[in-house]
């Protein structure tokens, strides 16, 4: 199991250490500093030094390091580290050296609660905020809470729905659903799609009273086929089902139920949370198509023409569109002509950055640029590696996968009808075109 956790700054100085087991001492942080932070050649997030294993992530300037001398479940350690970051962020907004120093008592307290003898116990903010109240002046100190109340907390913290307390009340019951899709694309220089996939997220914000049972429906092909086969085909449902490769759910979703009949049912935590993530690879509508032509004319000149075409209905539009066209390191001057938006050569990024604030549907724009290169002084035979063109964008009320929410039922004792809102947004993931 995890023997210790260290929070270090980028120099490898220990900010906070919490040792859970006797098999290591604080001194191992030194080994980590020398072997990992100090060495430029470290190429893996897991490092074995002697018989001590270090697993680490870096967030901003902070290293979070899990240490073990056993054959620990490494994946679990990384999950803990990542969840720890989220947890810290929810307690004190950003995670850096100052915020850790400013909250060191709280950090100790959290670390004490999250892991016991190196076994993860609970990393969920919803639960921890019930009884770790340090630094949150508003909340009543636990000392003043009544005995029954504390028992309620402990029972909830260890029970089957630790993420929700039963006594939540809202005047207005509301429910917001955000479907956010990130499109990943890798296109070859010849314009063939090497791989395209969508990873989607269903974010939910619940302002619901009591202990509501929710059922969530989407146009999942398997489910729809099943219903059809069962003779429940409803002609009113629009569109076709989409093929979802894989789904992962928030811990509140009853997985066994999903496994048997593919219904997504859950008692939601209060406030914002990520209900599910999904992944599709079939029939993806790429919102933008890019046709790049980059020619190296001799050793000192480069010509490029990049055409971007929007591939959605003209009623919609893309926002914050940004195209990053890489140029060689020895670029001297760029002459750029664009049909829309603004384009500029950014030497620090080694790229021409083309921004279009509003990109209407079903249109195309072209950028033409002449790049002059400095004659390279050193006789470095290495050619320019031609990194891919990458793109950023957002398109609202559009899903690249065709995903849509078909229903959301809320069942609660008091029988209220919540107001529901659904939004869709498609944005870029890793959207790259080789040149």
């Amino acid at each position: 199991m995890i023997s210790a956790l260290f929070l270090m700054n980028s120099k490898g100085e220990v900010l906070i250490s919490r040792i859970y087991r006797d098999d290591i001492s604080r001194g191992v942080a030194n080994a980590f500093r020398l072997e990992v932070i100090g060495s430029k050649e470290t190429r893996s997030p897991v490092k074995l030094i002697g018989s001590t294993s270090f697993m680490y992530i870096k967030v901003g300037s902070i290293y979070l390091v899990g240490v073990s001398r056993q054959n620990v479940n490494a994946c679990m350690v990384f999950e803990v580290l990542h969840q720890l970051v989220e947890l810290f962020k929810s307690y004190f907004d950003n995670l850096d050296e100052d915020s850790i120093r400013n909250n060191f008592v709280l950090v100790y307290e959290l670390l004490d609660e999250i892991l016991d003898f190196g076994y993860p116990q609970n990393c969920s903010t919803d639960v921890l905020k019930l009884y770790i109240t340090q630094g949150q002046g508003k909340l009543k100190s636990l000392d003043k809470l009544k005995q029954e109340k504390i028992s309620k907390i402990t029972i909830q913290a260890t029970g089957t729905t630790p993420w929700r307390t039963p006594d939540i009340k809202y005047k207005k019951n509301e429910l917001y659903i955000d479907v956010i899709e990130s499109v990943n694309l890798l296109m070859s220089a010849e314009g063939n799609v090497l791989r395209a996939d969508v990873s989607g997220q269903v974010m939910m914000k619940c302002h619901l009273s009591g202990m509501p049972e929710c059922k969530f429906g989407m146009n999942d092909k398997i489910l729809m086929d099943k219903e059809r086969a069962g003779g429940q085909a409803r002609t009113t449902r629009r569109g076709n089902g989409i093929e979802i490769d894989d789904i992962t759910f928030h811990q509140c979703v009853k997985l066994t139920k999903f496994d048997t009949d593919r219904t997504i049912s859950f008692i939601p935590p209060d406030g914002e949370f990520e209900l599910m993530r999904y992944r599709t690879t079939e029939h993806i509508n790429l919102p933008f198509k890019v046709i790049p032509i980059v020619r190296e004319m001799g050793r000192t000149r480069l010509e490029c023409s990049v055409t971007v075409k929007s591939n959605f209905s003209s009623k919609m539009f893309g926002t914050n569109v940004k195209v990053l066209i890489p140029t060689p390191k020895n670029t001297a001057v760029c002459k750029i002509v664009v049909a829309a938006g603004k384009a500029k050569y950014m030497p620090e990024q080694d790229a021409i950055v083309w921004r279009i604030k509003r990109f209407p549907g079903d249109t195309e724009f072209t950028l033409r640029a002449e790049v002059e290169l400095m004659a390279s002084v050193n006789l470095d035979k290495k050619t320019w590696s031609r990194p891919p063109i990458s793109m950023e964008f957002q398109v609202t009320m559009f899903t690249a996968s065709g995903f849509h929410v078909t229903f959301l039922k809320v069942i609660e004792k008091s029988n209220y009808t919540p107001i529901k809102w659904v939004r869709y947004l498609t944005k870029n993931g890793n959207y790259q075109m080789r040149i």
Binding site: R69, D143, L186, D246
Partner: protein, 932 residues
């Protein structure tokens, strides 16, 4: 609300002030003071002297203050076992507090205090808490049993806690069940008895809890399920059915642990349709791991590597998801590449090759090399793709990027080994790039190609001759290959190479220090001198074809790793007992032997037979050698010992004398070599329970600050060697009034070229009265001045900003001895003979410790002085032959004669640079009389 102010109290007398504050009557004052104490503890200051005072604050109803005090007690109880007992009373009281959070806190903290007289008092409260009505207390108590077991297993067993834990598997609260499972699993791993057995009865309890507990609890239960061997195919199926829904969990560790269970239980399922369905279900979650954080992707990929080896069908159609993204971290790219090679087949090879070609133009050199190598491995793996692969490689060679060309040549050589006489057409292109080769491996590959195809390369003799000119400066790999290739050329085209072969044989046998090269030179020489035709038959014999087995682990290892999916073992691709010191499994490790010790995480490409088979005589011949050795072996130590009498000096060049003697001692030395790394790893393991941290403890000696004129700083330190690295461990204590910073260190120029790897010390600033431990890595690559006498004392200075402090530290000679010191018998012999008699020294070392050669030699081996062979002479003497090698590659050969009567160890030694011997003997005497 900022706590950072607590860090800012560095003024003098602060301890005193803190004491006052801690004694305050007001709770908030106390809390402030404890926070300051904790802040000081956090930055590494020693505040243990406040123990009693802090302890006084323990009896409070303020939960926040209580937690802080507990934290302090946990940290310092070990230093004050006598006073820690004072806390017991409060602990016991808290353990029966009406507030469940306080009860749990008390049990949790008490378990962390590893002081014997406290653990005794823990038993009663623990027993109550295990049966507490509050689940939060019960789940904490369950873990506490594991803590207690770690300190005092007998106590836990005698108190019957293990039975209670087993009962807890039926607890109504799923989290309690999960923690009980975690505790039992861990105790079972180290216990001598089986204390946690999953049977049909508790299996169902676990499966029920699996659906209801937290994500972490699910992981504990899934891990435990892997311990169970299903009794029937149906049972396995039903467990899998209960586990598969977990594949949809957002937590990757739950997903991977579920996959581990499925992979294991699948072996027991007879129905192939079910197995197929399960495989199909596993694929999407595995792919989903690749869209998680990069670290999780890396872990996923390492495990996918195993899963694909075991069940290739799982991901056979998923090639595209492993394509590298331009901005993937390098460690993800490397793993993806490996899996792409594994999944490549005739259908997808074109697509894959296009990708590899793309990667070969990227920036990261190591990645580019691996991509080029990947093309070669695909060529070897897929017969029908070899032509396309060659074409891609030729395209890459035209880029003229130096390291791409070199790597391409290396892989093309391998392709030649797999498809002999098929692609000679490309040789011309390769030869055109001769001058760009500067890496030994690429050079050796090219030379091999020239030698192998000498009859078809018109100017082969010119090409080889151009390499021969710089023979002496070449790496030994190149030298060996050049020797072989010239001999091949000579056999094929005697006229062109007569002069060259003479030169190269002379160079190899007379002017080289490398025993391998000399031996190989002699073999060829004799072979050529005796029978030209026989030489031809042997040297130019048909070589076995190579296959690509780089990515394949041995079955038993693979199965073991599959059972360890998601754990560190699956990341390292090594069984747990090779890197975990505390396991009862260590005993099991004996069965597995030393196999994995030298196994690299990324085994090198299979081409090493390239150096051996093509050059060492014919297989039959070498087998003879082995056979002979086996016959000799049983004749006992006397015979083996006499190898020193063999006289190689009469083996004059050109006249092969006694071949039997040459092949004299194969076999055993290899055993030796395997054992020694094993020993090392044992030593490197560090102490098991409660032992020191990774490197062994170093006894630092006070070196500065002992004399009256020494002011401002106290320095103690010592040199040490650990895991092949030398370091200087220093402890600095600032005794001045001002803070010191910007420490630098410098060594006087010395005989061995010992210098710090980085002159700037990474200890930041040192406040008055603060002390710090630093470990300074040492190189032996500094400027060395051979004129100077080799001395043991190193003069060193440390400079903080302006001031300089000079001091001396004894440098133990054995720190210079490397781990690759062991020699095999022949090398030892030939080296002994090659060193002139003049260099021989002898000295009697009185043994003042217990006279036991076994333990003395074992202790020497731990200091990198390795025994090669030992023999007994008469009743009173035992002679042991040893070798060691210094950082600057000087071998020291020893003959130690232990005389049981006189308790004297006579040391006869030989080495090429005798000036270090006095020093060495001094060290040896010290080592013998101070074992370990």
């Amino acid at each position: 609300m900022s706590d950072s102010k607590y860090f800012q109290t560095t003024k003098k007398g602060e301890i005193h002030e803190l004491k006052e504050e801690l004694l305050s009557q007001r709770e908030d004052k106390k809390k402030e003071a404890v926070k300051k104490v904790i802040a000081a503890m956090t930055v590494g200051k020693d505040v243990s002297m406040l123990f009693t005072h802090v302890l006084n604050c323990m009896q409070t109803h303020n939960l926040e203050l209580k937690k802080l005090v507990y934290l302090y007690v946990m940290n310092y109880a070990k230093n004050h076992p006598d006073r820690a007992i004072l806390a017991v009373n409060t602990f016991q009281k808290d353990a029966s507090d009406p507030n469940p959070l306080i009860r749990a806190l008390a049990v949790r903290t008490m378990g962390c205090i590893r002081v014997d007289n406290i653990t005794e008092h823990l038993c009663e409260p623990l027993r109550f808490c295990l049966k507490d009505q509050d689940p939060y207390v019960r789940k904490t108590a369950a873990v506490c049993v594991a803590k207690l077991y770690d300190v005092n297993p007998e106590l836990v067993e005698s108190q019957g806690f293990l039975a209670i834990l087993n009962d807890m598997l039926g607890d109504s609260n799923p989290m309690v069940v999960a923690n009980a499972v975690a505790a039992l699993t861990e105790i079972d791993e180290v216990s001598k008895h089986e204390i946690f057995r999953i049977n049909q009865n508790n299996l169902n309890k676990l499966l029920a809890a699996l659906q209801a507990t937290t994500e972490w609890g699910q992981i504990f239960i899934l891990n435990a399920l892997c311990k169970y061997n299903p009794e029937s195919s149906q049972e396995a199926e039903s467990v899998c059915e209960r586990v598969t829904p977990r594949l949809q969990h957002a937590n990757s560790a739950v997903v991977l642990s579920s996959i581990k269970v499925l992979m294991k239980y699948m072996n027991s399922i007879h129905n192939n349709d079910v197995v197929r369905a399960l495989c199909k279900k596993m694929a999407p979650p595995l792919v989903t791991l690749l869209s998680k954080e990069p670290e999780i992707q890396f872990l996923g990929l390492r495990n996918i590597n195993l899963i694909v080896q075991k069940r290739p069908e799982v991901l056979q159609y998923e090639m595209k998801v492993f394509f590298c993204k331009y901005n993937d971290p390098i460690y993800v790219k490397m793993e993806k590449l490996e899996i792409m090679i594994m999944l490549a087949n005739e259908k997808n090879i074109e697509e894959v090759l296009l990708e590899f070609k793309e990667y070969a133009t990227e920036v990261d050199v190591e990645f580019v090399r691996k991509a080029v190598r990947a093309i070669g491995r695909c060529a070897i793996k897929i017969d029908r793709a070899s032509e396309k692969c060659i074409q891609v490689l030729l395209d890459l060679i035209t880029t003229k990027v130096n390291y791409v060309v070199q790597e391409a040549i290396i892989v093309i050589k391998d392709i030649f080994r797999k498809y002999p006489n098929k692609y000679e057409g490309v040789i011309a292109t390769l030869c055109a790039n001769l001058e760009s080769l500067d890496e030994p491996e690429a050079k050796a590959s090219m030379i091999w190609i020239i030698g192998e195809y000498a009859e078809r390369i018109d100017n082969a003799h010119e090409l080889l001759n151009s390499f021969l000119e710089g023979f002496k400066d070449e790496n030994s790999q190149v030298q060996l290959q050049l020797l072989t290739s010239i001999v091949k050329l000579f056999l094929k085209r005697p006229k062109d190479a007569q002069q060259m072969v003479q030169t190269v044989l002379n160079l190899s046998t007379q002017e080289s220090d490398n025993p391998d090269l000399r031996d190989r030179g002699f073999v060829y020489w004799r072979l050529l001198a005796t029978n030209f035709e026989a030489a031809k038959a042997i040297v130019l014999s048909e070589k076995p074809l190579i296959t690509d087995s780089t990515s394949h682990l041995e079955d038993s290892l693979l199965n073991e790793l599959i059972n360890n999916i998601s754990t560190l073992a699956s990341v390292y691709h090594k069984p747990p007992e090779t890197f975990v010191t505390k396991l009862k499994g260590l005993k099991r490790g004996g069965l597995r032997g030393v196999r994995d010790e030298d196994e690299d995480e990324e085994p090198e490409y299979v081409d090493d037979d390239n150096n051996n088979i093509s050059n060492t005589m014919s297989p039959q011949n070498s087998q003879q050698g082995y056979g002979q050795q086996q016959q000799q072996q049983p004749q006992g130590p006397q015979k083996t010992g006499s190898l020193i009498d063999l006289d190689l000096s009469d083996l004059n060049f050109g006249s092969p004398v006694n071949n039997n003697q040459m092949t004299g001692g194969y076999g055993q030395p290899q055993q030796q070599q395997q054992q020694s790394p094993n020993d090392l790893s044992f030593l490197g393991g560090g102490g098991g329970r409660g032992g020191p941290s990774t490197p062994p403890k170093v006894n630092k000696v006070l070196v500065y600050g002992k004399e009256p004129n020494h002011q401002n700083i106290v320095i103690s330190g010592a040199f040490t060697r650990f895991n092949g690295r030398i370091s200087l461990e220093l402890n600095l204590l600032n005794t001045s009034q001002i803070s010191m910073q910007k420490f630098k260190i410098q060594f006087y120029q010395n005989y061995f070229g010992i210098t710090p790897a980085d002159p700037i010390l990474s200890c930041g600033s040192l406040e008055p009265n603060q002390q710090t431990d630093i470990s300074i890595p040492i190189n032996t690559t500094g400027a060395s001045s051979p004129q100077m006498n080799p001395v043991i004392d190193m003069c060193i200075m440390v400079l903080p900003s302006q001031e300089r402090f000079y001091f001396k530290i004894t440098f133990p000679f054995n720190c210079l001895l490397t781990e690759n010191g062991p020699l095999d018998k022949e090398s030892y012999l030939s080296m002994w003979k090659s060193i002139p008699e003049l260099n021989e020294r002898s000295r009697d070392i009185p043994v003042r410790v217990q006279f036991n050669p076994d333990s003395i030699l074992k202790s020497l081996a731990s200091k990198n002085i390795f025994e090669i062979v030992r023999k007994r002479v008469g009743n009173q003497e035992e002679i042991s032959f040893l070798s060691c090698k210094t950082e600057n590659s000087i071998y020291i050969l020893l003959e130690l004669t232990f005389n049981y009567q006189t308790n004297i160890c006579r040391c006869v030694s030989k080495t090429t640079s005798p000036d270090i011997m006095a020093l060495f003997e001094h060290t040896l005497e010290f080592l013998i009389n101070n074992p370990y």
